[in-house]
């Protein structure tokens, strides 16, 4: 059974860590090129929307989502926004502390 294969269970976690590591490096490149954090985060969100929309249209039809699950997912987006804001704010404050 495919779900018993370790890569089926571990692959997404490894992929997540790898892609976020790539995002970290690319984020630094973007900031070095003069962009600011809010612009990067906003533009990144639109790219993600386009990608996921294309996948939902071209890929297999997803199972319908219940209204509570929809609202919870929307709430997860709020948490994600807080995560990104807190992270970059920490970068900014600690960077200033080390220089000031």
């Amino acid at each position: 059974m495919i779900t018993a294969i370790p890569w089926h269970r571990l692959g997404p976690a490894i992929l997540g860590a790898s892609t976020f590591a790539c995002a970290d490096v690319l984020g630094k490149v973007t900031l070095n090129a003069g962009a600011d954090v809010l612009t990067v985060a906003t533009f990144r969100s639109y790219v993600g929307l386009i990608l996921v929309y294309a996948w939902l249209q071209l890929g297999s039809r997803p199972q319908s989502i219940t209204p509570p699950a929809k609202w919870i997912s929307l709430g997860l987006g709020v948490l994600f926004t807080g995560n990104v804001f807190g992270l970059f704010k920490a970068f900014e404050l600690m960077k200033c502390r080390s220089r000031c």
Binding site: A4, P6, R9, L10, P12, A13, L15, G16, A17, T19, A21, C22, A23, D24, V25, L26, G27, V29, A33, G34, A35, D36, L38, T39, A41, T42, F43, R44, S45, V47, G48, L51, V52, Y53, W55, L56, Q63, I65, T66, A69, K70, I72, S73, L74, G75, L76, G77, L79, F80, T81, G82, N83, V84, F85, G86, L87, K89, A90, L93, M94
Partner: protein, 175 residues
């Protein structure tokens, strides 16, 4: 959570701190609070996904979460009337790549949380700092000293030790 898993998490965190040369005296209190806030948000995302969205298609979770976060970021940008894009083709290439990799990462985390749970997923996310260190060394020219390299190896090793814990069934037997 097993004692082994908890020990692995603590060791990975300690290795990470030593790898980046963290020192309490060099940290701003507000920065620490912001980082803790960010971590709390991330933990909440993992726990809520596992507990409330176990049978939901991760693609739809990603879609709706991106919708709300995009609305918020756009609102902040409009409220502050802020738009500062990167200069040059390399900057724009990196920005688009950032969007692609972040989206894939978010989706992968949701899928992983459903498959192996939030704790094991968070343990695997400890692979992110060592991989970032490698990428930074290759593409940004950031160099790690000998002590950091050693700690990086320890950190990656402890994170890599997670697979054994991750594939075990709840009874402790290997899947």
């Amino acid at each position: 959570m097993t004692p082994r898993g908890i020990a692995a998490a603590l060791a990975a965190f300690a290795g990470l701190a030593m790898m980046i040369g963290a020192h309490p005296a060099g940290l701003a209190a507000l920065g620490i609070m912001a980082a803790i806030g960010a971590a709390i948000c991330r933990v909440a995302m993992l726990l809520i996904t596992r507990s409330a969205l176990a049978g939901t298609d991760p693609r739809l979770i990603t879609w709706y979460s991106l919708v709300s976060s995009t609305i918020l970021f756009t609102a902040f940008a409009l409220a502050t009337w802020n738009w500062q894009p990167p200069a040059g083709a390399l900057g724009w290439f990196a920005l688009v790549g950032l969007g692609v990799t972040t989206t894939v990462g978010i989706l992968a985390v949701y899928v992983s949380t459903v498959r192996i749970g939030p704790f094991r997923t968070a343990l695997f996310m400890n692979l992110e700092p060592p991989l970032t260190a490698i990428g930074s060394a290759i593409f940004l020219g950031e160099v790690l000293n000998a002590l950091q390299m050693q700690r990086w190896g320890d950190h990656a090793g402890r994170s890599g030790g997670v697979p054994d814990a991750a594939v075990r069934t709840p009874t402790g037997r290997r899947a």
